[in-house]
């Protein structure tokens, strides 16, 4: 029996259409994000070019700034440019939560703990 309550694949795409006025607002948001991404990149390059890597506290602060700026840039690209912010909550969580946990696990275990240990055994005198 044919069902008539099914949503055809195409209708999702057609549902996503918007009017001329809505488009104006969306474009304004896009330009705002562009401005932010540009300024953040300029700041990062300025910091990277003017400070050398060393063991001081200043450098630790700069690395933290790099990490925060990168994550904020990534957040804006994903939510505004890739429109994930406009999708349903369940797909947002399906994509982000498993990725976040897997990456946190790998970064802490492999990069930080294991990498540090490898550096440590190189300095041993035997």
């Amino acid at each position: 029996m044919e069902r008539d309550d099914l949503i055809v694949d195409e209708s999702y795409a057609i549902n996503a259409h918007h009017s001329e006025e809505a488009g104006k607002k969306i474009r304004r948001d896009i330009y705002k994000v562009t401005l932010f991404l540009t300024l953040a990149t300029i700041l990062e390059v300025f910091l990277g070019a003017s400070f050398k890597r060393n063991e001081t506290f200043t450098w630790d602060v700069i690395v933290t700034v790099f990490a925060i700026l990168t994550l904020v840039k990534a957040f804006f690209i994903v939510t505004v440019f890739m429109h994930l912010g406009d999708e349903r909550k369940n797909i947002q969580r399906t994509i982000l939560i498993p990725y976040f946990f897997f990456m946190a696990y790998m970064i802490i275990l492999i990069t930080i703990i294991e990498g540090d240990f490898q550096g440590l055994i190189q300095t041993l005198p035997f």
């Binding site: 099914l6 259409h17 990062e44 390059v45 070019a49 990490a67 990168t70 890739m82 999708e87 930080i112």
Partner: protein, 234 residues
């Protein structure tokens, strides 16, 4: 924006079949899942890079010393060329999202215009990367004098004047893998541009294909944001 996605639908109705519980079409859904797996691949590469950096903490080269040349202008511009490449990729991402926005208004001409610009910026980025690779491989005038008196210039898979061998290997692998993604992205964009110009999506009454390819293109930009920070800056 998307009306289907912003509607509040009862959970049982949502998961009872007959519709996508995620409120998006199959193709877009699968593109997202592909991007998650691709993000895991890049995550793995960058984590391996982080591991190597910790292992060679003292001798790892600094990005601002290795990458300080501009085409035709010579040395002394730390990170300027990489910054330019980053900027080009960001701008190409912006033109792509503008193409998607125009697609949501069924505006064929504007979609074609922004998509063509995206292709152009993508090709520009690939050219920049080719120049950077060539410069990295040929190395500096001075080079590095080894213990036996011989001098090496630049880097390849068997020696590296800048620092640990792994630095060169990671440079080739990470930026190469990313460049390959940019290359396929440009190919996809060209295919979609031809389809737009031939009016395929006009007949279909929606430009979702532009959005799907756009997702891939933004992902390439997203990866570069991380590669830029982790490889060049830190």
């Amino acid at each position: 924006m998307a009306s289907e996605a912003t509607q509040s639908i009862d959970n049982t109705a949502l998961w009872d079949g007959g519709r996508s519980p995620f409120g998006m079409s199959y193709g877009k859904n699968m593109m997202w899942f592909f991007l998650v797996s691709d993000a895991l691949t890049f995550g793995g590469l960058l984590i391996a890079l982080g591991f190597a950096r910790f292992k060679f903490a003292g001798e790892w080269p600094m990005g601002e010393e290795v990458f300080q040349s501009l085409p035709f202008l010579g040395n002394g511009f730390p990170l300027v060329y990489v910054a330019l490449m980053t900027f080009i990729l960001i701008i190409s991402s912006v033109t792509m999202v503008l193409a998607v926005e125009a697609g949501h208004r069924n505006d064929k001409k504007t979609v074609a215009k922004w998509l063509a610009l995206t292709v152009l910026f993508g090709i520009f980025f690939l050219g920049s990367q080719a120049w950077e690779w060539s410069h990295f491989i040929h190395g500096t005038e001075a080079g590095l004098t080894l213990a036996d008196g011989s001098v090496i210039h630049g880097a390849n898979m068997s020696f590296n004047e800048y620092g640990p061998q792994l630095y060169a290997n990671f440079f080739f692998f990470v930026t190469g893998f990313h460049g390959f993604h940019v290359f396929t992205g440009v190919l996809f964009n060209i295919i979609i541009l031809i389809m737009v110009l031939r009016g395929v999506f006009e007949k279909r009454k929606h430009y979702e294909m532009v959005e799907k390819v756009g997702l891939y293109w933004h992902f390439v930009d997203l990866v570069w944001v991380f590669v830029f920070t982790i490889f060049y800056l830190v």
